[in-house]
Symmetry: D2
Subunit: 364 residues, 4 copies
Amino acid sequence: MSHNSFGHLFRFTTWGESHGPALGCVVDGCPPGIALTEADIQPFLDRRKPGQSRHVTQRREDDAVRILSGVFGDERTGGQVTTGAPISLMIENTDQRSKDYGDIRDSWRPGHADYTYDAKYGVRDYRGGGRSSARETAARVAAGAIARKVLGDTITIRAALIQIGPRAIDRARWDWDEVSRNDFFCPDAQTAKLWEADMDAIRKDGSSVGALVEVVATGVPAGWGAPVYGKLDADLASAMMSINAAKSVEIGAGLEAASLRGEDAADEMYLDENGRPAFRSNHNGGVLGGISTGQDVVVRMAIKPTSSIRIPRQSLNRDLQSVDVITKGRHDPCVGIRAVPVAEAMVALVLADHMLRHRAQTGR
Amino acid sequence: MSHNSFGHLFRFTTWGESHGPALGCVVDGCPPGIALTEADIQPFLDRRKPGQSRHVTQRREDDAVRILSGVFGDERTGGQVTTGAPISLMIENTDQRSKDYGDIRDSWRPGHADYTYDAKYGVRDYRGGGRSSARETAARVAAGAIARKVLGDTITIRAALIQIGPRAIDRARWDWDEVSRNDFFCPDAQTAKLWEADMDAIRKDGSSVGALVEVVATGVPAGWGAPVYGKLDADLASAMMSINAAKSVEIGAGLEAASLRGEDAADEMYLDENGRPAFRSNHNGGVLGGISTGQDVVVRMAIKPTSSIRIPRQSLNRDLQSVDVITKGRHDPCVGIRAVPVAEAMVALVLADHMLRHRAQTGR
Amino acid sequence: MSHNSFGHLFRFTTWGESHGPALGCVVDGCPPGIALTEADIQPFLDRRKPGQSRHVTQRREDDAVRILSGVFGDERTGGQVTTGAPISLMIENTDQRSKDYGDIRDSWRPGHADYTYDAKYGVRDYRGGGRSSARETAARVAAGAIARKVLGDTITIRAALIQIGPRAIDRARWDWDEVSRNDFFCPDAQTAKLWEADMDAIRKDGSSVGALVEVVATGVPAGWGAPVYGKLDADLASAMMSINAAKSVEIGAGLEAASLRGEDAADEMYLDENGRPAFRSNHNGGVLGGISTGQDVVVRMAIKPTSSIRIPRQSLNRDLQSVDVITKGRHDPCVGIRAVPVAEAMVALVLADHMLRHRAQTGR
Amino acid sequence: MSHNSFGHLFRFTTWGESHGPALGCVVDGCPPGIALTEADIQPFLDRRKPGQSRHVTQRREDDAVRILSGVFGDERTGGQVTTGAPISLMIENTDQRSKDYGDIRDSWRPGHADYTYDAKYGVRDYRGGGRSSARETAARVAAGAIARKVLGDTITIRAALIQIGPRAIDRARWDWDEVSRNDFFCPDAQTAKLWEADMDAIRKDGSSVGALVEVVATGVPAGWGAPVYGKLDADLASAMMSINAAKSVEIGAGLEAASLRGEDAADEMYLDENGRPAFRSNHNGGVLGGISTGQDVVVRMAIKPTSSIRIPRQSLNRDLQSVDVITKGRHDPCVGIRAVPVAEAMVALVLADHMLRHRAQTGR
């Protein structure tokens, strides 16, 4: 057991605080012989990087990753490859400005982990949220990039933001190509436009807002996952809920499944044009009995509004005195935006783990 | 790693198929010296037992549990107590009627795990769903009863059904005492009445319907849970999603959190009349940064409609021929009902595990 | 983590006390489609069974194993096979005679776990040693039989007793066929004769004696095992030391390696007649860097003399009064004898686990 | 499961190759509030450091450790303390000289892991042994220093070298103070003198030699450890056998236990002058039934001679051609010497883990 590790066979362990010298992770169990350099990882970090638009935190971090172990290359290998040894990744923190956080040293910000860390540990690295900062998710994204290499090209994992506050996209306008064309990873160009105004207003108010992320993994073969506590969807649920500020996880129809009748929820099967089993719908989000069906694996996650806002909220300080808390500093008014690449990474990490678990038990 | 185990320090492993001779579980890591007999477990099994009303499966199972190990009593101990050794629990299957399932031997029931088990394992115990049957959850409920004993009397874990199909309860009428007075574990007497008619209609149609379950744990001290992958809510999410037919998990505000603004979502803190930190709201469902706040821990789970219905659905058989599938047999038209005690048990199991994990690291 | 589980991917969990109703284990992670019935397991239990000669305990147990889950057979499968679900095995206890142990209820037998169980748990099932009884090893042997099926016919795992007290076998006379021809699993017929007299004298004295067990696994392919904490030999060491009364573990040259020089210890390599890498010696016991070499895997384990003897030893009772302890009852004067099939089983279990771990990471 | 992690609740994961940019580890599960700076760790690394006498490798490494996360200090904490978050430790490699190893790129050194890494992974970082280098043990020593802080001052863990090649110390002359006064961690001054000459001769021959290490942990309370697969001695066995070049592990009487009779092996109990249970001997090495007795925990480990010698040995290259291998470079002629602080560290790490496991289950 390790509180800071995730996965069983493809397993990663993260470390680091928001304002420490660096953060990183160790990826263990990676198959050998997979081509891997920093260039395979950096683009995913760049997508998550702060400061890329006015709608996210203005903290400036290069988030440049270094691979410290677990790879090797010479003329035999034809380029750098994984060796099967643990892969250590490190990202140095370069823009900490810890002075910004002096005023929250003694107060518990509502909606933050300040109080619970104090209650649990009796000591808390308050600088930038310390270990509870979303900065930890950079390590997940880096590990996720390796997971993608393990999964190979036949599996595609993409995520999008489908709701900010009360405003949802129109799924009829879903276009994956749009996701990289706006500041919100939004697959619906029209809604993205509306969100710009929404977000400008929220930022001006010193407020923040929640969001909904959807991840779709295409190309996952039927058979991955393991009943009954190693279910693919149970691990996806844990992975999503481990992301900072996540409050719900849905698979396929998700919450809507509660309202359905059996004949509508059934994903009927037929033989497709290639003579392979196929499904007429995907209410189950690509998972039946905890095992993948071969359809798209579909996961959604609600992200609560950032707790760091400039609107005063009542709270307590460590001396149990009543205080009004205003959080200055450079915060994401909608952490859901930058959660998109993180959610993708977590799905990739779950799938890579289950790929190895499946072949361990079945040899395939 | 074990696919059929759950928990780390308070850990249980289940085994058994729907139509095998028995099912059971082994609970490991239980603290010693806790009074425990079958009478502590049986009432919880009785709540989950089939055949208790016309709204659930008419299968007849006594679900009588036997403790085969891990307890001991003599004059010194003053009654039977746990010894710290693994506790083996066994429930014999008495009403299998496996003839009912002959016709689904070769066909894949839509919405069931038939196809995915075949895809994964190449062999499938089709009798009553085999390992994928919800019958496995009896073992969870039995283990959950032990978890409650570990947690002690200061923690109360209760669940209720709050929606069947499109019809939800009125939360203003929530009365925990009602839960044991109707066939639905419904906390709202008026809605329970309406559900009776709803369910009769669904049953008459040979259909089934989804439902929403809410679990509330009261008395959990602040400080349980562990960032970042051992978060209390991440483990609750995994626990809930491992329950048969679960499609969503929500903590606190859950999916609704996506729509909120920061100032509304913040759970403001104040000092209560006992001089203890308290909160003015509970959007976070009793968990911040993966650690309990001391508030009620609130978890919701959507259960999809039973896939076994008498309305024909199109599917394939193992020879990849198109077939119409009708599932006869004695099925729950709304598996969400009997999922209520299972959900309670899983929350108890997660909490017992985190109680031990917390004291391992902090000594408290 | 589970104190009563062993292995990672091929993982088993044992339960049961010496004088409870039954004991058993759950084997999880077994590959599907492997032919398995009780008849595959029973012969191994019969080898370990008490009462087979005057040199072992006269307790009478049938040790009849039942498979309660995880297997299925119909005309498709052509006989009963594993399904990939957890395999639950149960052995009922039939000859407990717990009255024999009344006198050790309050006293701590020297060399036994009585004192340490009391120190740890504050409660102890003293009947027949409870959980600390070697009776638990029946479950290991049963699980080990399944591990052998997973490993297949190309891997042979055999053990022998090579020393009882100060008298060792002559390795020049080693004959595997002899192992089944005497009461001691001794590969040297001449030494077995001498042991008969040795053991008769020890039994007459009411004493007991230590022994040395050697296990040899032939046919293990090169490449199993995993640096640096999942080393094949580290797992073998843990497996052996978990056996009751084990006090040492050696791999290959073992303790003797301390006395060697580098040029003598080097296992030189050459190409064998089949054009495959081979070794001129096996000081490393078939493991280099924690990974199998393809040679025989050679493990030895010292077993201390049974602590239950009829010669009085000074000890304390639970009231901390000085007492003389004499252990009556039906004990093995040399537990090393019946440890032989247990040691074989543990090696099989480690290898099956590493077979799955190897193919998880490498795909082979 | 993680091949490069050790421990369950106090768990560390190591990474890094001999000739990569750095090596390190992540320690997870550390209790919060423990004073910790680099100065608590460095002295232990300095004891293990190469180049400290002519009897060990002349490689020059500072082995300066940096703590990158998991600690925090301000006026409240009164110095830097652990926060409960993962502690990342890094040691940069400064003296790699990878040119020395060019000639072993293609050949498999007898007794080394070269062949097995190739057999398993198909790729191998041959520079200085890569991941199989004993350089990895620096990370263990660093983690072990933290484990000591967790264990506190009442537990002392010391190791000594008690045999080099065929020459053993005289236990009657054992003096712990001597251990720091010679180049061999030898507790017997007279034998240390003789070893100087022995080692000079071996080095001159270009050979190497095996050794025997003994670790003694004093002050471990009764009750740590957990039957039956989480036994304290089983975990110690795994820990010791995971150390490079280890070939045997003994607890207490160890191998000698095979030769004993029951009445001699029994560790009789009495009440000591403080009215506490005590033992007249310690054949069991402080562990009974897998649980500590309160006596000294005594572990021994044989280390084989370094496989890197200047005396030519026959082997194969990757093209399966016969070659004579001579290993130049700066090797330890007796790796057993520098294994002493490593063995201490591993015992500390096992004990810290069991301390937390014990209090998890029992609350003490």
